[in-house]
């Protein structure tokens, strides 16, 4: 296999001159330089899929916003991470996440420990800009320890990626299209009947909302260990 040689590239983010390696993304270089870009589906250590579009940035010469988590850096590119258009687009994206499913914070176990909830504070969204769709999905509570509630899912696919890339089981995947898309186990079987699930709980830990949660614990007891996965990956790479 011929490996592409890693080169150092210089470019600008918000008029600040930065450098990064050619295999890095805009988001990685921005974070290295303490430039904040909001993210949702991104989790350090997992692959990037750009499914949520929260990290969109403007690149000079491009007509459409680009997700910073999947865009590789280029020599001389000029990136803008915040503008009235970008802010408006992010608010619209967040509104669509809130309106697509039924995110009723007051009845959710993740109330107070939810990335969707805290994102509304970060992006200063106090009401949805689009009407609510009021879709209902069946809850899968068959597993002895965990519950999958698609009504609270934002389809970030962190659970799929952590199961595939870190646990190595690939017990989860997406089924359906568009508004009907949901997270399923194996060939859309009840969680308890999944042959490949190891019941490790990593999917539950990385879930940004209350879509995947531990059974029989109250809102006060919920601890989402999102950072634990990033630590795990760091420790493994050091071996």
């Amino acid at each position: 296999m011929i490996r592409e040689k890693v080169r150092v590239k210089s470019f600008k983010i918000n008029d600040i001159c930065v450098t990064g390696q050619s295999n890095q993304t805009i988001l990685e270089v921005a974070r290295d330089n303490n430039i904040e870009i909001p993210t949702m589906c991104y989790l350090e250590g997992l692959s990037c899929v750009g499914s949520c579009r929260m990290c969109i940035v403007e690149i000079k010469g491009s007509h459409e916003p680009t997700p910073a988590c999947t865009a590789k850096i280029k020599e001389g590119m000029e990136v803008t991470t915040s503008s009235p258009q970008i802010e408006a687009a992010r608010k619209m994206i967040l509104s669509m996440m809130f309106s697509e499913r039924s995110h009723v914070c007051s009845t959710c176990v993740a109330n107070g420990d939810c990335e969707l909830q805290s994102k509304s504070v970060e992006l200063e969204l106090e009401h949805s800009e689009v009407p609510y769709l009021n879709q209902r999905f069946e809850i899968d509570a068959s597993h002895k320890n965990f519950v999958n509630d698609p009504n609270r899912c934002i389809l970030c696919t962190r659970c799929i990626r952590v199961c595939d890339e870190i646990e190595g089981a690939h017990a989860l995947d997406l089924a359906g299209r568009g508004l009907n898309m949901r997270i399923v186990h194996d060939m859309d079987e009840p969680w308890a009947a999944s042959q490949s699930c190891t019941s490790c709980g990593k999917c539950v830990y990385v879930c940004p909302t209350g879509a995947l949660y531990e059974k029989d614990i109250s809102e006060e007891e919920v601890i989402k260990k999102r950072g634990i996965i990033t630590e795990l990956i760091k420790n493994r790479s050091q071996r």
Partner: protein
């Protein structure tokens, strides 16, 4: 100084946000000299008055009566504030949207009823349920949003104080959806 003519309205919600207003405790005394409560569950006014400066609305829109009332109130209010998650997102009130109003009526008046020989839902005097419970801003223009379940009393206090003093505030450090 002219007092702010304030109305508060309780639609499809649990009244927790109205409790939260009362939870301001001694700060109510601080606010009181600047405010005249002209219509509210707190006072005994039957008709919604004209020329209200600010109407605070708790709860979602659930019935045809709610819709008619909120439109009339909007015409008579200079400013409207949606208070709490039910008014802003539908919240718990809108959870029945996933099943539909008929399922809820059936559950309430047939399945769980000990005495209902005619097997009918109430249809006279009581307002008709909408197919979908709606947040306020999907029907009328809303000027301010103050989310929370319930909205913390400090957020309500800061908001009212800012309106009295005629300045803008950033509500996001004070409250958010849920708790």
């Amino acid at each position: 100084m002219k007092k702010i003519r304030l109305a508060t309205l309780w639609l499809d919600g649990c009244s927790g946000c109205h409790m939260s207003i009362l939870d301001m405790d001694e700060k109510l005394i601080e606010i009181a000299p600047f405010i005249d409560v002209v219509y509210s569950p707190y006072v005994d006014t039957k008709e919604f008055p004209k020329d209200v400066d600010l109407t605070i609305v708790e709860g979602a829109l659930s019935t045809d009566h709610d819709i008619a009332m909120i439109k009339k109130i909007r015409e008579n209010s200079k400013l409207m504030l949606a208070l709490g998650d039910c008014a802003i997102t539908g919240n718990v009130s809108a959870m029945k949207n996933l099943f539909g109003s008929d399922v809820v009526l059936e559950r309430g008046y047939l399945d769980l009823a000990d005495i209902n020989e005619s097997k009918e839902y109430p249809s006279k005097i009581v307002p008709k349920l909408l197919d979908k419970v709606l947040p306020l801003h999907e029907v009328v223009h809303v000027d301010y949003f103050l989310p929370g379940c319930p909205t913390p009393s400090d957020a309500i206090y800061e908001m009212l104080k800012a309106l009295i003093e005629g300045r803008e505030i950033n509500i996001h450090s004070l409250t958010r959806f849920g708790k």
